[in-house]
């Protein structure tokens, strides 16, 4: 089973937490029989669209504001959609995933893990 683990963030402050987690997983994740894992860090959710096709599952990690620092939160697509601030600058994670699903590129199995950070910065 081919799984893609994606960290979304930016180089700045606590927004980089998912990148750091993905980097550590890439280095230290023990092999799991039957699973082939790939890791990728992204700065822009729109890049998800090009990447998710062809995998059996996608695990997305992203920083979560308004949650206790360091806590993990398993989110559904609907919860993710509700948590994203209405903005039109670019596709958000929820919108990018919805578009990938509409195009039939999104694997059935999608896990979204929010990692609590202290600030919204």
């Amino acid at each position: 089973m081919r799984l893609l683990v994606i960290g979304i963030g930016s180089p700045f402050g606590e927004d980089r937490v998912a990148w750091d987690v993905v980097d550590q997983l890439r280095e230290g994740m023990p092999e799991v029989a039957g699973y082939e894992l790939e890791f990728q860090n992204l700065a822009h959710p729109s890049q998800l669209l090009e990447l998710v096709k062809g995998y059996d599952g996608v695990i997305i990690l992203d920083a979560l504001i308004d949650a206790e620092s360091g806590t993990l939160h398993r989110l559904t697509l609907d919860e993710l959609k509700a948590s994203e601030r209405a903005s039109s600058h670019q596709l958000g994670v929820a919108e990018a995933l919805a578009l990938a699903r509409a195009l039939d590129d999104l694997p059935e199995w999608v896990e979204i893990i929010g990692i609590g950070i202290k600030t919204g910065n």
């Binding site: 700065a43 822009h44 669209l49 090009e50 209405a86 903005s87 039109s88 600058h89 670019q90 596709l91 919108e95 919805a98 578009l99 509409a102 195009l103 039939d104």
Partner: protein
């Protein structure tokens, strides 16, 4: 009995950045119409003061995630004009190629994800993707190619970091460019198909009286160089801009409104149009032969005074940008990527054609090249008065007695024609209708 309807679009969607529209209709007449840009002021001009000239391209790239190249190009040209630096033909050609990348990613995003859902009757790109997956994929392929061109020069597609005053930090590898050439050749027939499809869309037959303003260059479709021309006969050097165009603060907007003063005496200012439709209206004859032939075949006459032809103009520019990119990539060779710069004191101007229209910069430097003052006039603030004028005319033509939901959708469609980049302009949509 007096009838008053208030309509409010609190947050405009499928535009870059945040703004709202307030509309009051009393007894079938528009009482108030304001495109309210409320994204906070960006203050970039002040951030630049006291900074070294070397920092400017990276700082101004931060103004916009969609059109950073435009900011980098206008700024580099302005500073080079002060320092007497002439980077030569390789840099000039590569700047055009870099700019092709930006037009392609910005135009493809706007047509496919932001504007097309309006014309095909969908709430958004996600709903449209279920019915028209190939069209959406095509848009994403063109956008992806544009981004790849930006990465070739800028290391990343958003806020690229490869530009310096004098040229680029690094010349891309030949093998990378050969790969991009192959991709561009594959995309060209898809761009042709896009133009043909958009030409067949049923659009409102809405003719309006407006002035188009764009750059014009003797030999080429404009990117970085040329004079400023208008559809009513203006033809000036870029350093004469301030005599004919002025920005004003409007209380309802954190973006400045620009007006055009045809007589150059600061009187009788009027709105004007910048961007793909204005560019094509003024530069059709400078398109490559293949694009001109395609345009003729599509049967939409230019100059056009129908703002709904903007999306088609954008598609034609995608075709142009691919042909231009192919030509430039076919001739690509690695060379010295920048010219030497010796800073000096002075005042310089830069103007280039951002995806949304002319982006004008003015800088004053001291003798070490530090920025004493900066002025940046983005395309969306130049279009803002035109958008309000268009909205008033379009909504009257559409019918002010219609249901608020229909008025709201029509208003949003009109605004999206301009592909407004609110984030750039704030130094944006909610619709508030009152009637």
């Amino acid at each position: 009995m007096a009838r008053k309807i208030d309509l409010n679009i609190p947050l405009l969607t499928r535009v870059e950045g945040e703004g709202a529209l307030d509309l009051s209709i009393r007894d079938g007449e528009i009482e108030n119409l304001a495109l309210r840009i409320f994204e906070p002021p960006r203050l970039f001009e002040k951030f630049l003061e006291g900074r070294g000239y070397e920092e400017v391209p990276d700082i101004v790239a931060r103004i916009c995630g969609i059109c950073p190249v435009a900011y980098q190009m206008s700024a580099s040209h302005a500073l080079e004009s002060i320092f007497g630096c002439a980077p030569g033909p390789w840099v000039r050609a590569m700047r055009r190629l870099f700019y092709c990348g930006e037009w392609l990613e910005s135009h493809a995003l706007h047509i496919h994800l932001l504007a097309l859902p309006d014309f095909l009757g969908f709430d958004g790109a996600v709903e449209m993707a279920e019915k028209y997956p190939e069209e959406v994929r095509r848009g994403m392929r063109i956008q992806g190619f544009g981004n790849a061109l930006l990465r070739a020069f800028g290391a990343r597609s958003v806020h690229p970091v490869g530009v310096k005053v004098g040229g680029f930090y690094k010349a891309p590898e030949k093998a990378l460019m050969d790969g991009l050439l192959e991709q561009a050749r594959e995309l060209l027939p898809q761009a042709e198909a896009l133009c043909r499809e958009l030409a067949k869309l049923e659009l409102p037959d809405d003719h309006q009286d407006f002035v188009s303003v764009a750059m014009r260059h003797e030999e080429e479709y404009p990117y970085n160089e040329g004079r400023l021309v208008s559809s009513d006969g203006l033809d000036i050097a870029i350093d004469e801009y301030e005599q004919f165009f002025a920005e004003h603060h409007c209380e309802h907007s954190t973006a400045l409104h620009s007006l055009y003063y045809p007589s150059g005496d600061g009187r009788e200012g009027k709105p004007y149009l910048v961007g793909p439709l204005a560019r094509l209206n003024l530069n059709r004859d400078k398109l490559p032969e293949a694009t001109q032939a395609l345009l003729s075949e599509c049967g939409i006459a230019f100059p056009s005074d129908n703002m709904f032809h903007s999306a088609f103009a954008r598609a034609i520019e995608i075709h142009f940008a691919l042909i231009e990119a192919i030509t430039l990539l076919e001739n690509y060779d690695i060379a010295e990527p920048s010219a030497e710069v010796s800073p000096s004191a002075g005042v310089g101007y830069g103007c280039s054609e951002a995806p949304r229209g002319i982006l004008w910069h003015r800088y004053e430097t001291d003798d070490e090249g530090r920025i004493l003052s900066a002025r940046i006039v983005p395309p969306t603030s130049q279009n803002q008065a035109r958008i309000e004028e268009d909205l008033a005319a379009s909504l009257r033509a559409f019918g002010l007695e219609r249901e608020p939901e229909a008025i709201k959708l029509h208003a949003e469609t009109v605004i999206r024609n301009y592909d407004p980049c609110i984030s750039c302009a704030t130094h944006f949509l909610q619709l508030n209708i009152e009637r």
